[in-house]
């Protein structure tokens, strides 16, 4: 019990401390150590601490308070020749100020005018466009939208999503493109192409007649060894084609050496400058699979390259092409490969490398599904002007997700009259009413959201898109906010496939997964690291969250579990048996696997590392923020980095170097709280692999053994990550409280303040009754007062 209490105190949310009075908490300290120089008499550095505002919601003085922390943290203040406070005293003051600044900042962020505007994230924009018009818009295409700014990983915090002139230009351009694609001047030219193995194999294309004479044209396949790329998979030969969604089918085999990970198919679009499809392929040579997917292509010529992203020889060596009479049909045919080419199978016919064996690829599109066409038909350009105006209003209401007055549509009617109907639609989509979610009324100070605002809040929370017709009609009836109705709607919405957006988007933002790969690991230190591993790491965490979500499991699973979601690439990375299927599957973990829960997933362990080594302090900060909702104060400036191990000194772990690094008492205070949270995971290297000794590139002697033990400030000791996770679980309410706050950040698109504290705690308490099962936690949030609060 004592342990729990101490633990709770350690991670008490920031704003809880802000309630302490400045006069009693820190003023005596300043009076004793600071005000003699920074007071009425001296004003050294033009700074008077006694005159700084105690209101931490005010911008300019908060900056100065921040400066005070950094000077104290760096040991500059008080100066050496002045009486020194104890380290604990100084630390307490710095903590108080840091928490107050944080609380003040959050209060400022949450400070809302009568009307609050929250710009749609680019993902939400694209989802909304699709639901409105059945048009797939690619916000990440080159020249489309820029990435959304983040606040602690969240991409939809209203105060962060500012608008610049370049945004307006991009919104206008996007609106034109969307309307043109919904109702093009002439019907798009549909193409259907089939490209055979021989078509993409440059060496064999010239030999088609000879191969046909041999009678083996239909047997010809193209082998793609690791690192091998073939171009010319483009949908329409060298010709351009119309933009839209294309259906793709690809037939191929993927063979794997015994005990190794499978080949990895990657299709890269040069024009989109990204991978449009990738998958591990596990299919015997004589039992190829047909993979199907859809992709968006802009208009013009789109080149697509196929690559086998798997470990293997870096150079093409003698492996290139099929020279002379050698034409690939099967691995077992001696005439498939020239004798001097790289050996691909052993003498028993087992592949030596993960190989893709390509048969064909088919392209079909642009495709328009009937339900998409139906969406467009609702607002299709009508022949008569009068109807056009009524359709215009209907379109504005749908696009702006609320009733629209005639007065509001007047300017758009004018555009229709001056130009045409489609230009009017473009203007509606380019309006702030479309790309902003607005809550409140200019002339009324309304404390809660209305039904339409609630409908949008609900649908953007759970679906990441605009409300559907059911939500609109409940909003129109004015019944949506009724608890029973709301609960029914939550059940409906959580069962809808659109809720997959939440299961993907929320964990991505909450766990700050966009940081994975931010510092690409050094190729020499981590030669096994590749893009697919990086993506698999992220997918493990997302699939893990989705599994908890789909099965409504307790959020305890985020802290620890005896299972995870693995694909072959990640299983190989973890040194676990490789699954038989290419996709992710739920795998039960033995204790020796040293995994379970989110915290020991490679994504989390690597996003907190840099390109060369693990960073225990960063791991500690991440854990503090993400699991406890507590942001530690920033480090003082000009802190020396930890230097690499000298070549003439015994090899030392990062932990050992860190201990020497933070010998300064002023640093030790913060580090004592943060570091144990990260050091607990020292058994995992910078890319999340388990280890028992730390590899130190330079220095004398053997690599030192890992020490993942530690103790919390309350004295609770742990010896490794497993024990640490057990300690976390023993204080599950604290995590649940922080998790609820993160959910609220995401749902309400704003930071929480001390004003929200009581409601957050109430939601947490109610959710506990259902063992903190994820969907129940979400439901409790939605039916809470907090969710209704504007």
């Amino acid at each position: 019990m004592v342990q729990k209490t101490l633990f709770a105190l350690l991670f008490l949310p920031a704003f809880a401390q802000c309630g302490d009075d400045f006069a009693t908490a820190v003023a005596p300290f300043f009076e004793q150590h600071c005000n003699r120089c920074h007071g009425e008499k001296k004003k050294k550095g033009s700074l008077r601490l006694d005159e700084l505002s105690r209101d931490f919601t005010l911008g300019p003085d908060v900056e100065l308070w921040h400066e005070v922390i950094t000077r104290m943290g760096a040991g500059e203040m008080p100066p050496e020749d002045e009486p020194q406070p104890s380290a604990a005293e100084a630390q307490a003051v710095m903590d108080w100020l840091a928490d107050s600044i944080k609380a003040g900042k959050e209060a400022r962020m949450a400070k809302r005018a009568r009307v609050a505007h929250y710009r749609l994230s680019r993902e939400e924009y694209a989802n909304t466009v699709y639901d409105l018009l059945g048009v797939t818009f690619d916000p990440e295409a080159p020249g489309a939208f820029t990435p959304d700014p983040q606040w602690h990983g969240f991409e939809r915090i209203g105060s962060e999503l500012a608008l610049s002139p370049s945004h307006i230009e991009k919104y206008l351009k996007a609106a034109r493109e969307i309307v043109d694609r919904a109702w093009p001047e002439k019907p798009p030219r549909e193409i259907k192409s089939h490209r055979r193995a021989i078509d993409i194999d440059w060496n064999n294309r010239e030999k088609e007649k000879w191969i046909e004479d041999l009678g083996i044209l239909d047997q010809v396949r193209t082998e793609i060894w690791p690192g091998h790329t073939l171009s010319y998979l483009r949908p329409h030969g060298g010709h351009g084609h119309d933009s839209g969604v294309y259906k793709v089918r690809i037939k191929l085999s993927g063979v794997t050496p015994p005990g190794a990970r499978p080949p990895h198919l990657s299709l890269f679009s040069k024009k989109l400058d990204r991978i449009i499809y990738e998958a591990d392929v596990l299919a015997p040579e004589d039992e190829p699979v047909i993979l199907e997917f859809e992709t968006f292509f802009p208009s013009g010529q789109n080149d697509v390259k196929i690559t086998n992203v798997a470990p293997g020889p870096k150079n093409s060596g003698g492996g290139t092409g099929q020279p002379g009479e050698f034409v690939f049909t099967t691995l077992d045919d001696p005439k498939s490969r020239a004798p001097w080419q790289r050996k691909l199978t052993d003498d028993d016919g087992n592949p030596l490398y993960p190989l893709l064996i390509f048969d064909w690829i088919e392209w079909e599109g642009p495709i328009t599904e009937p339900e998409d066409q139906k969406k467009r038909d609702r607002f299709a350009p009508p022949p008569e002007e009068e109807i056009a105006l009524s359709k215009l209003k209907a379109f504005a209401e749908a696009a702006w997700r609320r009733p629209v007055s005639d007065q509001e549509t007047a300017r758009y009617r004018k555009i229709v009259e001056d130009y045409d109907y489609k230009t009017g639609l473009v203007a509606i989509l380019a309006s702030k009413n479309f790309f902003y979610i607005s809550e409140g009324e200019p002339n009324v100070n309304r404390p809660t959201v209305n039904n339409y605002e609630l409908a949008s809040r609900l649908s953007y929370f759970l679906w990441g898109t605009m409300p559907d017709s059911t939500l609109f009609s409940l909003a129109a009836d004015g019944t949506l906010a009724e608890k029973d109705v709301l609960r029914k709607q939550i059940d409906r919405m959580l069962s809808d496939p659109k809720s997959e957006t939440f299961a993907e988007s929320f964990p991505h933002q909450w766990l700050q997964l966009s940081k994975v790969g931010e510092f690409p690991p050094d190729e020499k230190l981590y030669p096994d690291y590749d893009q697919w591993l990086e993506k698999s790491m992220v997918m493990e965490s997302l699939r893990y969250f989705a599994e908890v979500y789909q099965n409504n499991l307790s959020i305890d699973n985020f802290l620890n579990s005896n299972w995870t979601m693995l694909n072959p690439r990640l299983a190989d990375h973890y040194g676990l048996p490789i699954p038989k299927t290419a996709d992710f599957e739920r795998v039960t973990l033995a204790p020796e696997a040293n995994r379970g829960g989110l915290l020991t997933q490679a994504s989390i362990l690597s996003l907190t590392s840099d390109g060369t080594r693990h960073r225990p302090v960063h791991r500690g900060v991440w854990l503090s923020e993400t699991i406890f909702g507590k942001t530690p104060p920033p480090p003082p400036p000009n802190v020396d980095a930890i230097e690499p191990n000298p070549v003439d000194k015994p090899k030392a772990t990062i932990r050992e170097k860190l201990a020497a690094h933070i010998a300064d008492e002023n640093c030790a205070g913060c580090h004592a709280k943060i570091d144990p949270l990260g050091l607990a995971f020292d058994n995992y290297d910078a890319i999340g692999r388990w280890r028992t000794e730390e590899e130190v590139p330079n220095g004398i002697g053997k690599n030192p053994p890992v020490d993942a033990s530690g103790s919390l400030p309350d004295g609770t000791a742990f010896s490794n990550a497993r024990e640490f996770k057990e300690i976390l679980l023993s204080d599950r309410d604290r995590f649940a409280r922080a998790f609820v706050e993160k959910l609220a950040n995401y749902a309400l698109r704003r930071a929480m303040t001390v004003d929200d504290e009581a409601q957050l705690s109430a939601i947490t308490t109610r959710a506990k009754a259902n063992n903190y099962r994820l969907r129940d936690v979400m439901t409790e949030l939605v039916v809470s007062e907090l969710f209704m609060k504007r």
């Binding site: 010239e206 030999k207 000879w210 004479d213 041999l214 083996i216 050496p257 015994p258 005990g259 190794a260 004589d286 293997g312 020889p313 060596g317 003698g318 020279p323 002379g324 009479e325 049909t329 099967t330 691995l331 077992d332 045919d333 001696p334 005439k335 498939s336 490969r337 020239a338 004798p339 001097w340 080419q341 790289r342 050996k343 691909l344 052993d346 003498d347 016919g349 030596l352 490398y353």
Partner: protein
């Protein structure tokens, strides 16, 4: 369930052997044959396609063949491990003049002992000029060994003693050592008589000399024993040693440029290391001690995957490996030198497979240039075909190169 093509091709290759319950007379490219199963056939070499190690013999009228089937061509191809000796030293077909009388050991080809039935005729086969006529021993088309008289008799420790010389020095009668078998040999102005290390003349021949000779054409009458034309005669030990030494030098240079051939016995791979691994190969019979010594001391070797004809694809297609061990095996089978090498490769090639032939060279041996017609890449300049030829599924004439 598809049957892998490699298995099919191996089965096709093995079908005759399988149906013959593993007839030991059949020799395959992929393994050394059983000892003592080859058939002796001797005759005059009438056509040589040295690049593909093929040729045609006109078998001797030695009394084993019905006279109506005399002189029919006996097409053969050298087995990859088949050896050729000339002047008592290893040789290539190109070293042997057309018209030289050779002793050979032959195995059945993959078709096994098929029946050869020349058309019934009252006429001598030679007069019919039918292109499809072939020797009744054509089944034995896989040459394990070819050697000239010099090599054959020297290997067997046989010399011939001159018993009589005609007055015009047009014929000599010789008698086999340790035997009373005698032959009458014709000699003429073209007969080279070797004495010491230089050419002598017919006048240097004398009754009582113990000679070694190479015969030329000699079967146009009843038997070569009655009518053999003798092209070369070595009348003393010094001349014989000189001839052998020159031929040995020729062959050493030939093999250095191309590498010594060997049969891949097995390959082993490091799991997870791709094509990296070890190759074990046994050198073919006839490796010169000088070359073997260099190979034993080689830190690294270059290998070329070659056709069963020992023909190379290209000089630029070599693989590189490190010799880990050189060992001698006891009682090596025919065609095998008994020398086994274990070589480590960072990357093996497709041709590094059990049953394939490779050439192995100490790194400094290979030269960047070889006679163009010897190479299969970028195209085969020897488009014409000399029998026998075994057509397999994918082989079509005029393959793209």
């Amino acid at each position: 369930m598809l049957i892998p093509m490699r298995i099919i091709s191996i089965l096709l290759y093995l079908i005759p052997a399988l149906t013959l319950a593993g007839d030991p007379r059949i020799a395959l490219d992929s393994e050394f044959p059983a000892p003592g199963k080859a058939k002796m056939i001797s005759g005059e070499i009438t056509l040589i396609e040295h690049v593909n190690r093929r040729g045609i013999l006109r078998p001797d009228r030695d009394g084993t063949i019905n006279k109506y089937y005399w002189d029919l061509p006996h097409s053969f191809e050298m087995l990859p491990y088949g050896s050729i000796y000339y002047h008592g030293a290893p040789a290539e077909l190109k070293d042997i003049p057309i018209g030289t009388h050779l002793h050979g050991q032959f195995h059945l080809g993959p078709e096994g002992p098929f029946e050869v039935t020349p058309p019934v005729s009252n006429y001598a086969a030679g007069k019919m000029a039918r292109p499809d006529l072939r020797s009744v021993e054509s089944q034995y088309s896989r040459a394990m060994l070819l050697e000239d008289d010099f090599s054959f008799y020297t290997r067997n420790g046989i010399t011939w003693e001159i018993k009589n010389i005609t007055e015009d020095r047009g014929e000599i009668v010789v008698e086999k050592s340790g035997d009373d078998e005698s032959m009458t040999l014709r000699i003429d102005r073209g007969t080279r008589v070797w004495k010491d290390k230089s050419i002598a003349s017919r006048d240097d021949l004398a009754v009582g000399q113990k000679i070694v000779m190479n015969l030329g054409w000699g079967t146009l009458l009843g038997s070569y024993k009655q009518d053999a034309l003798c092209r070369e005669i070595w009348i003393d030990e010094a001349s014989r040693l000189a001839a052998t030494d020159v031929q040995r030098g020729i062959h050493i240079e030939h093999q250095k440029r191309r590498g010594v051939p060997a049969l891949v016995i097995k390959t082993e791979h490091d799991p997870g290391k791709g094509a990296k691994g070890w190759l074990t190969a046994q050198l073919y019979e006839g490796i010169d001690p000088e070359l073997l010594e260099e190979l034993k001391n080689a830190k690294s070797v270059l290998t070329q995957c070659v056709e069963p004809s020992l023909r190379m694809y290209n000089v630029n297609t070599s693989g590189s490996g490190r010799v880990e061990s050189v060992t001698e095996i006891e009682n090596p089978p025919p065609g095998c030198s008994g020398i086994e090498l274990r070589i480590h490769f960072y990357e093996m090639q497709e041709g590094h497979r059990k049953g394939r032939t490779i050439r192995i060279a100490e790194r400094s041996w290979f030269r960047p240039v070889l006679p163009r017609e010897e190479l299969l890449r970028p195209n085969d300049l020897r488009a014409f075909s000399v029998e026998p030829k075994y057509i397999t599924g994918r082989d079509l004439p005029n393959s793209p190169q």
